[in-house]
Symmetry: C2
Subunit: 477 residues, 2 copies
């Protein structure tokens, strides 16, 4: 048992789906359990999520929001209060029908999202414009009864934060919706090194019960898109269904304007599929639980381990440094930490100690360099910044290379038929019939109407009628 075997994975080009499954399991992000469609998030996956969560929670608090915690269960009658919402979610909720041996008088659903719970609470606590805005957020698990599941990307249960806010005016609500989308984009770009397209969802693709939905969309290595975060302006729909009213500055009763926005463990799937390669995971330094892994060379020789531990201690002030002093072979260790996508490997052996140097190997480029022990902390800090920047640049370049334009349906169909379709920018007449037809014939969906609009043509890519809305289309996860 416990042999030093080297893990190997399927190549991305051979079978991207199998590559993904290999990476999530062999990098020890997740394990499967006997619960269909649910995953066990292992220590490494959890540590990555905790780093993302910490960065996002900080921004959520800095922008004035407070965390709360709502119940897991929603009585069926409460879920039914907002008509569009229940229609959207009823097919995919899990129902609790028994407590112990007792059959419940009313079924409870396990929350798929918590708009109705927040709405009920807001009705209780909001009376005057002085009570506004209410800027709440919760970190929670939610359940959606999906038929087909994949780790992180689509699971029965997932972890997320869901923000829920109430405002006096439509303008305030719109400002909030935009602000939180910007926060998501910032977390993606700054921490996860994921470039995103910001835009608005079409009516067909918006959140059930929303006035409109903003989204950030990213492009995976295989040319498929992934919705990476959404922010909804709910208008006064829920407020009217739940009677959330306040007396305004003139003493008149008004309904509040609401927003909600969510960001999930799904983003880890995006990180894997954007940065990963045939050697496994690549984790951006900003969210890497271990930024540098020290691998001692010839560690049985006197002084090597002491030196390595001492180095770890010194670097730990400003860098997250691990050390593997196990009796496994260096080659096994190199492979293991490449599989886990640790940004930098630091090798140090007797000769290095003699020469007052260490060896640094970048995970993103494979580049190996001998660097002096003098100023090592600064050297590493700079390298981590370079790696972070390089990952964002590579991902942005990849997206640009795989973003195409189409001016008619033939071009569109040719692009979507490619093995790696990418984003397709094309004009749309805003008629849902065209959106439906495109999906039916190409399986591409409208990802968003980007904030940065361009005029590629005057006519709809599908029906040829007059069109002035640019849409990003893609096959998507």
């Amino acid at each position: 048992m416990a042999k030093d075997f080297v893990k190997s994975i399927t190549s991305m080009e051979d079978d991207f789906a199998q590559w993904y499954t290999d990476v999530v399991t062999k990098a020890e992000l997740i394990d499967y359990s006997s619960v269909r469609g649910s995953m066990i998030i292992r220590p490494y996956g959890t540590a990555i999520w905790e780093n993302i969560k910490e960065a996002l929670d900080k921004r959520i608090k800095e922008t004035g929001h407070e965390n709360v915690y709502m119940p897991l269960f929603i009585p069926e009658s409460l879920l039914q209060r907002e008509k569009d919402h229940i229609e959207g979610f009823a097919p995919e909720v899990a129902w609790v029908t028994h407590g112990g041996d007792e059959k419940l008088a009313e079924r409870l659903c396990v929350r798929p999202t918590s708009e109705v719970l927040f709405a009920e609470h807001y009705k209780n606590i909001i009376h005057s414009y002085r009570d506004l805005p209410k800027l709440y957020n919760q970190w929670a698990n939610v359940v959606r009864w999906e038929k087909t599941t994949r780790p992180f990307l689509r699971t029965l249960e997932f972890l997320w934060q869901e923000g829920h806010t109430c405002h006096e005016t439509e303008e305030d609500a719109d400002r909030e919706t935009i602000q939180m989308l910007q926060v998501y984009a910032e977390i993606c770009e700054k921490y996860l090194a994921l470039p995103v397209i910001k835009g608005r969802k079409t009516e067909k693709e918006k959140f059930a019960g929303a006035k409109y939905t903003y989204t950030i969309e990213s492009l995976m290595h295989d040319g498929k898109a992934l919705q990476s975060g959404t922010s909804h302006n709910l208008g006064d729909g829920f407020a009217k269904s739940f009677g959330i009213q306040f007396s305004d500055r003139d003493g008149n009763l008004q309904h509040v304007q609401q927003t909600s926005w969510g960001f999930t463990t799904r983003i880890i799937g995006a990180m894997i599929m954007v940065h990963g390669d045939d050697r496994g995971l690549v984790v951006p330094p900003m969210i890497a639980p271990t930024q540098v892994m020290i691998v001692p060379i010839a560690q049985h020789k006197e002084g090597v381990l002491d030196f390595a531990y001492d180095l770890q201690k010194k670097l730990s002030n400003s860098i997250r440094v691990g050390i593997d002093a196990s009796d496994k072979k260096p080659g096994w260790k190199f492979n293991e930490y490449e599989m886990k996508g640790i940004p930098l490997r630091l090798e140090v052996g007797p000769k290095d100690i003699e020469k007052n140097q260490v060896v640094l190997v970048r995970r993103d480029t494979g580049e190996k360099q001998f660097v002096s022990m003098d100023g090592l902390e600064e050297t590493i800090t700079q390298l981590l910044t370079d790696i972070q920047d390089n990952l964002l640049k590579k991902a942005t370049d990849h997206r640009e290379e795989n973003t195409h334009t189409a001016v008619n349906f033939d071009e569109f169909k040719q692009l979507t038929a490619k093995e790696k379709p990418g984003f397709i920018k094309a004009m749309w007449c805003e008629d849902q019939a065209c959106e439906d037809k495109i999906k039916e014939e190409t399986s591409a969906t409208s990802r968003c109407m980007p904030f940065e609009q361009e005029t590629i043509a005057d006519t709809c890519v599908c029906c040829g009628k007059k069109a002035n809305k640019l849409v990003y289309w893609a096959k998507a996860y």
Copy 2:
């Protein structure tokens, strides 16, 4: 609307239960929802829990544990794998029977605790002694179908952390069980200012499926006890049921030795019932979301608000400082922040500014003092330490005053019949019949067999037979 009304609460002596309900709602810790037995944890309650969680998570990680996340649902067949465990939990679980419109082939229970999920995972990932110990923890919500519920103390759903570990030997598992109980005791005493009695549960009161259970018990203001954290040595019971085996250092197959331990939002109930008073909540400085609340006096006068904001900014380096610059009357504000139990109130008005001083009012003692602006940060830091120490001392004194001894059943019954029974130390013959009889006749239960044993008598307080085990008894939440 939005009048400056002063909140008032029921007196503790008149009706402790009503006092508790008043405090949790009027200090805005929780709100009720239409979900029976579940609570909404409002921003203030959530912020307190986040501070407790942060302190405990730090200690859990320092002691070598890693966080993971397990599924919310447990298939019925998996729950049934450990016989004692299912017997203990089956009557109080919520069952999911439908996903969308589809009836499930097998019912799923909403986790009441996750031993079986961890056991299944451990079987997959543990093969050799090199894989041990496995020291995992998760922060999660769990559900227990309770008939009677009270905010924090007993709710259908609650938040907690549950640690689950695997070890090579019984000694390792025992050391872990003790270590984590000590961590809980430390969090209670150092952060929550809650003195606890550490000990072992009787067979009757131990966790379903455990070899034995250690517990920390605290005493509430009304003389009832509250179990405040438990740590279980699971022995190899789950390991045998689930086949979690490893090849030991001699190459023989052995079952792992396991532990589990949990600490919940219930502890907020203990904090309320130990430190609270007739003016509301009292939050220990170490976990107070706001340690100092600045209330500007005559804030319409020139320079007062600027001075107050400036002060807040200066103090914020090392202290969690809030400011209420709303147009509500100072009297309303005093009352509000006393209700919320904020450790220190800082008043500052034009005269204070002139005299280079501020007014500080302690929440715990009501003591008011004029202190110089010079060295204010140090003065406040010292005062917060004093308040923290005083709360622990007061609570310890209260517990000592309400800890009694009984050497025979008459004495025991007299003590339990008192309005404020407190802890009763009495000897027990270790026969469950006596434990049952005591509960039946007095409604007191065995809280623990304390680690610090004493010999109060030679005979069992109930049956009069030879006894050498000291037990803490109490009526309990």
